[in-house]
């Protein structure tokens, strides 16, 4: 037997009119899997080691400030001396999963899953990065900025939420995580079902796109969202402590509901191969999380059949797991040196500038050109981000003390006096390069600080599914048409200016899908095909507001914005006889020019072994307006070898 069955009870006798579920019974199964991904793309440009600006010299735009009467000589800015690296392996991990299933009584069952995951970076330079979060606060590795201020090293890194734990039942270290993604009791009696404990909740049926699937955020620390597309985030959804239940009415309509503790999406950790937040930024995740950690999300879904159509209606009140971002004060020495907090000793700590949204960091952004490129690449506005960072309330005093100004306001003022004097962009570049000047004049390279907030919203939605019954072997023979749509009133989005004031708009999200199994050959199992179209009215697939889209890729610039997001996905699976082999292809295409192609094969020669070999090809046509633009270097070939026991 390839499983361990612990049957505590004497085996019951087959029964009639009632089951002999007399004694508790438990079964234990497990899996160990090696997961490796070879990097076939380029270095991750969100990292210091992969930044295209490493060591790059730029001529400053400081001369743009001459319109303000500042005649400073142009100089060369040089990005920090971080050694440029390109990793061979994006992932080299070992996973262990152990499931314990228990039937405790006729109506109560127990399920628990223990998951261990150890990353073993094969590239030396990656070994001092914290892959999972807790080490960033507890066991932080040295960081080059630390000696600069004689500070503990961790302050420059992300301040991960919940002390670095991704979910309620998790422990982790720099290169491992151990969690219990499932630990729940099920109670079922008649049409009533209750599930209590740590659990995943997955709604909706769309591939890639999460329209109805709004209950939980994603844990992207292990393989980002680049795992096997057909698995639909099943390993990524963040489990949460929840009560979930359903009641099925006499007409077979079912009302399902849940109440769960809020847990945010966890992004890949800074500096690691899949990270998507520039390493030159520190994101304060904890303060926002602290405010909302006790939030309880609730949701309901009513499902049933009307004529031949499967219908679902849902309503969810949640704290958004993905969160929104805004500038944050650097908070390096707020109690003693902040010039605007009234506690200062009167001696400005020039060079540190507590109270600003920046702080000097040799690995930080070093030139206006880099700022413009990076902001645009991440779908921010390089000019208004500067405006808000120096004029909005949290920073205004410190910024004024540092001589900072709003390029947009100043340009407007100058142009009002003398039309055509300058532009906000020119002033922004000049001001930025002034900041990036050596400390005698400015601050040198700067690190940016961000807050991550978790806003509340209510989502309502409806879905329908209809199966066509055309003539046998025709296109409409068992063709499944599915529609999912949601509406969120007053949804908050990160402003491309990173303002303290978020963008607030109603958002409509929908996906239309066609699914079909078609038998092309009598000798082969049917081919599964699905085509989908996703539409969002305000943000892209990753939730970034579309007003940040559209700027020159090479130089960056003020975004022109997009009106709507549209993407299509196509996937097929072709099993071979006996299902021992299966070929997959998944394609995701953002109509603005972003492409993800994921071909793969699965080999299952025995019940205790499986090999998956897949590749991710990503491409963007530039223009900073498609979803692949910020991750397009992450091409890879990945392999999973699983042993089940």
């Amino acid at each position: 037997m390839k499983k361990l069955t612990l049957t505590l009870a004497a085996l019951g006798v087959a029964a009639t009119g009632g089951v002999a579920y007399a004694e508790p019974s438990f079964s234990v199964t497990g899996m160990i899997r090696q997961e490796i991904a070879a990097n076939t793309g380029d270095a991750n440009m969100h990292t210091s080691w992969g930044s295209p600006w490493n060591g790059r010299q730029n001529t400053s735009h400081i001369g743009n400030l001459s319109v303000l009467g500042l005649n400073l000589p142009a100089h060369q800015t040089t990005r920090a001396n971080v050694k440029a690296e390109e990793n061979d392996w994006n992932q080299f991990a070992t996973r262990l999963e152990i499931d314990v299933q228990g039937r405790l009584s006729e109506n109560v069952t127990l399920y628990t899953k223990l998951r261990g995951y150890a990353e073993n970076p094969q590239d030396d330079f990656l070994r001092h990065y914290d892959y999972f979060g807790k080490a960033a606060t507890a066991n932080g590795v040295d960081h080059p900025e630390a000696p600069l201020f004689a500070l503990p090293s961790r302050v420059f890194r992300n301040t991960p939420l919940d002390d670095g734990y991704g979910s309620a039942l998790e422990n982790n270290g720099q290169d491992y995580m151990l969690d219990i993604p499932a630990l729940y009791l099920d109670y079922n009696k008649g049409p009533l079902w209750l599930r209590v404990g740590n659990q995943q909740i997955a709604w909706g049926e769309a591939l890639f796109f999460r329209v109805f699937d709004v209950v939980q955020g994603l844990d992207l620390r292990r393989h980002s969202f680049l795992g096997v597309a057909a698995e639909e985030y099943s390993d990524s959804r963040i489990p949460s402590l929840a009560i979930r239940g359903s009641y099925r009415f006499a007409n077979d309509w079912e009302l399902e509901g849940y109440a769960q503790q809020f847990r945010p999406t966890i992004l890949p950790r800074p500096g690691t191969p899949y990270s998507v937040v520039a390493e030159a930024f520190t994101v304060y995740e904890e303060p926002g999380y602290e405010q909302d950690e006790d939030d309880i999300d609730v949701g309901f879904r009513l499902s049933g059949q009307w004529n031949d159509i499967d219908l679902s209606f849902m309503a969810v009140s949640r704290t958004t797991p993905d969160g929104t971002y805004r500038w944050a004060r650097n908070e390096l020495y707020p109690s003693t040196t902040d010039p605007d907090n009234g506690n200062g000793n009167g001696a400005p700590q020039f060079g540190r500038r507590p109270g600003l949204a920046f702080a000097p960091d040799p690995r930080g952004t070093a030139s206006a050109d880099e700022w413009f490129w990076g902001a645009s690449w991440l779908r921010f506005n390089p000019v208004t981000t500067l405006d808000t960072s120096v004029t909005e309330a949290p920073f205004a005093v410190a910024a004024a003390a540092a001589g900072a100004f709003s390029p947009t306001a100043t340009a407007a003022q100058l142009n009002a006096q003398n039309p055509g004097t300058t532009t906000a962009e020119l002033l922004a570049k000049g001001e930025l390069d002034l900041f990036f000047s050596l400390p005698a004049v400015g601050f040198g390279p700067l690190r940016g600080y961000l807050h991550r907030d978790y806003d509340e919203e209510v989502i309502v939605g409806a879905s329908a599914k209809y199966v066509f019954t055309g003539a046998p072997d025709s296109f409409t023979d068992q063709l499944i048409l599915g529609v999912e749509a949601t509406f969120t009133q007053d949804r908050l989005f990160t402003a491309p200016s990173l303002s303290q004031t978020k963008i607030e708009e109603d958002e409509f999200t929908s996906v239309v899908s066609l699914e079909k199994y078609h038998k092309f050959s009598a000798k082969f199992p049917a081919t599964y095909m699905v085509a989908q179209w996703m539409h969002k009215s305000e943000s892209d697939m990753f939730g970034r507001h579309l007003s940040g889209n559209g700027s020159p890729y090479e130089t960056g610039g003020v975004p022109t914005g997009d009106d709507q997001f549209n993407a299509v996905a196509f996937a097929f699976q072709q099993p071979f006889p006996n299902l021992i082999w299966r070929a997959d292809l998944s394609v995701l295409y953002d109509l603005e020019g972003g492409l993800l192609v994921q071909p793969g094969v699965r080999w299952r020669p025995r019940d205790d072994f499986q090999l998956d070999l897949y590749a991710n090809f990503l491409d963007s046509d530039g223009g900073n307006d498609d979803i692949m633009g910020t991750i397009e270097t992450m091409d890879e070939v990945f392999l999973r070898a699983s042993y089940y026991f």
Partner: protein, 461 residues
């Protein structure tokens, strides 16, 4: 005591005449169905020449002997060609026992009772579906216990599979490589509920009073690890021209999805050589098949009665025999089935099905299929699907009182042998599957436990 007054070719002439005239009347010496309806045994229904191995082989093989490569030639005309090949060429051995004469050992009691009670009330409506004389959905038992043609016979085996209102079959399955080694092992439950034609339910013959559904059926896998929680729920419309609705929970998705259901010739998971279409010899809505034709009548040998159960194993696991490693087949127990109706039918509603026809062998005593053989599109033998029907009685006669204080009628095992690839699947009914779920019958609570969309979501790991 068997009747000897007819010569040894009497029954052969009887069946040939029936085939020639196109009539299908069961019972050779006396009408089968009226004998059963009167509560009598089958002792006077069939002559000795087709009621024992001695009679059938003119003494070459006796009841109680073992069928093996040395003597199987004497039974060549009485076995399906795959089973014959397994014995002749692969070392399969089959035990034998006397022909079952007690009708209550050939069918569950309530199903038998309903067949008697409702006899003569079934007809086909204009759509070809089975209805009662007042046009209602069928009310239980064999609609056509004395079937007169292939369509009626096929309706019998499709309208009720397991012949209970509710069944929870705990199953362990090994899927073998051509070398006889085990490639895959699965623990799963096959759960059925009749939605119409209920025979034991005090609340009536229609579940919830509805007449639009014939059955609910779930296949729920509980081991190994990666398939744990995989479940497929089929809801069969009463109209047999329509495909069942198929919903599935796959651990990879973590959610219930609707699946197209016309692809009924695919294994559900890697390894198994069986399809949904194979179940009970009639796995699809029967009006999606066509060209039903009776191609043979006469005695055959096959599993029925006792001998295919094994209470000696704590989990009812059965002994195996034959094949490269001596473990490729269940050591089954055959009897002479005096009257077998062999029906050829074609998957007319499945243009790209990998099979061109299926040959189904029905035990006419109870109108249940005990084996079927599928042929590929070139007409070559593809695979068999032999289900060891019978009572919960061991080879040595030990009775396991597993149903209402007495022995249980059930399927015991299935042998599915893909003769073109040499792969064999061996699902067998066990006492309990992984997770502590026992085989059980007639539990109406199973609908809520296993046969709804929310149930398969809950069962999913």
């Amino acid at each position: 005591m068997h009747i000897k007054k007819f010569d040894s070719n009497y029954s052969r002439r009887f069946f040939m005449k029936q085939m020639a005239t196109g009539a299908l009347a069961t019972g050779v010496l006396a009408p089968l169905w009226s004998t059963i309806a009167m509560g009598r045994t089958l002792e006077g229904v069939y002559p000795d020449e087709i009621s024992s191995f001695e009679g059938l082989t003119k003494g070459k093989i006796n009841n109680g002997d073992v069928i093996n490569a040395n003597n199987v030639d004497f039974l060549k005309d009485y076995m399906d060609e795959v089973a014959f090949m397994q014995v002749k060429e692969m070392g399969r051995e089959i035990d034998t026992h006397a022909t079952t004469l007690d009708p209550s050992y050939l069918s569950p009691p309530d199903y038998l009772g309903a067949s008697v009670k409702n006899s003569g009330r079934a007809k086909f409506n204009a759509d070809g579906n089975v209805v009662t004389d007042d046009g209602s959905a069928w009310i239980g038992g064999n609609p056509f216990p004395d079937a007169k043609n292939g369509a009626e016979a096929f309706a019998n085996i499709t309208m009720s599979w397991g012949r209970y209102d509710n069944t929870f079959y705990a199953i362990q399955e090994d899927d073998l490589n051509p070398d006889g080694s085990v490639a895959y092992s699965y623990d799963f439950a096959w759960i059925e509920q009749q939605a119409t034609g209920r025979v034991s339910d005090p609340e009536g013959v229609y579940f919830k009073g509805q007449q639009d559904t014939v059955r609910y059926q779930t296949a729920w896998f509980n081991a190994p690890q990666d398939v744990k929680g995989t479940a497929f729920l089929s809801t069969w419309p009463y109209d047999q021209r329509q495909y069942p609705k198929l919903e599935g929970y796959l651990p990879a998705f973590k959610r219930v999805r609707r699946f197209p259901t016309n692809q009924r010739f695919e294994p559900l998971l890697p390894g198994p050589t069986w399809y949904l279409s194979d179940a009970w010899g009639a796995g699809d809505p029967w009006l999606t098949w066509g060209n039903f034709k009776i191609v043979h009548r006469g005695p055959m040998v096959g599993p029925a009665g006792g001998g295919n159960f094994n209470s000696k194993d704590p989990n009812w696991k059965r002994e195996r025999v034959g094949g490269p490693q001596g473990t490729s087949f269940f050591r089954s127990d055959y009897e002479v089935i005096p009257d077998v109706v062999v029906i050829d039918c074609e998957p007319t509603g499945y243009p790209r099905a990998p099979i061109s026809k299926r040959r189904v062998y029905l035990d006419a005593r109870t109108m249940v299929a005990y084996t079927s053989v599928s042929y590929d599109r070139q007409g070559k033998v593809y695979k068999n699907f032999e289900h060891g029907n019978g009572m919960s009685i061991d080879k040595d006669g030990t009775v396991t009182k597993a149903y209402r204080g007495g022995p249980l009628w059930t399927w015991n095992f299935v042998i599915i042998h893909d003769v073109q690839t040499g792969r064999i699947s061996l699902p067998e009914l066990v006492k309990e599957m992984a997770g502590g779920y026992p085989t059980h019958y007639d539990d109406t609570a199973d609908y809520d436990r296993y046969l709804t969309k929310s149930a398969i979501r809950r069962l999913g790991a």
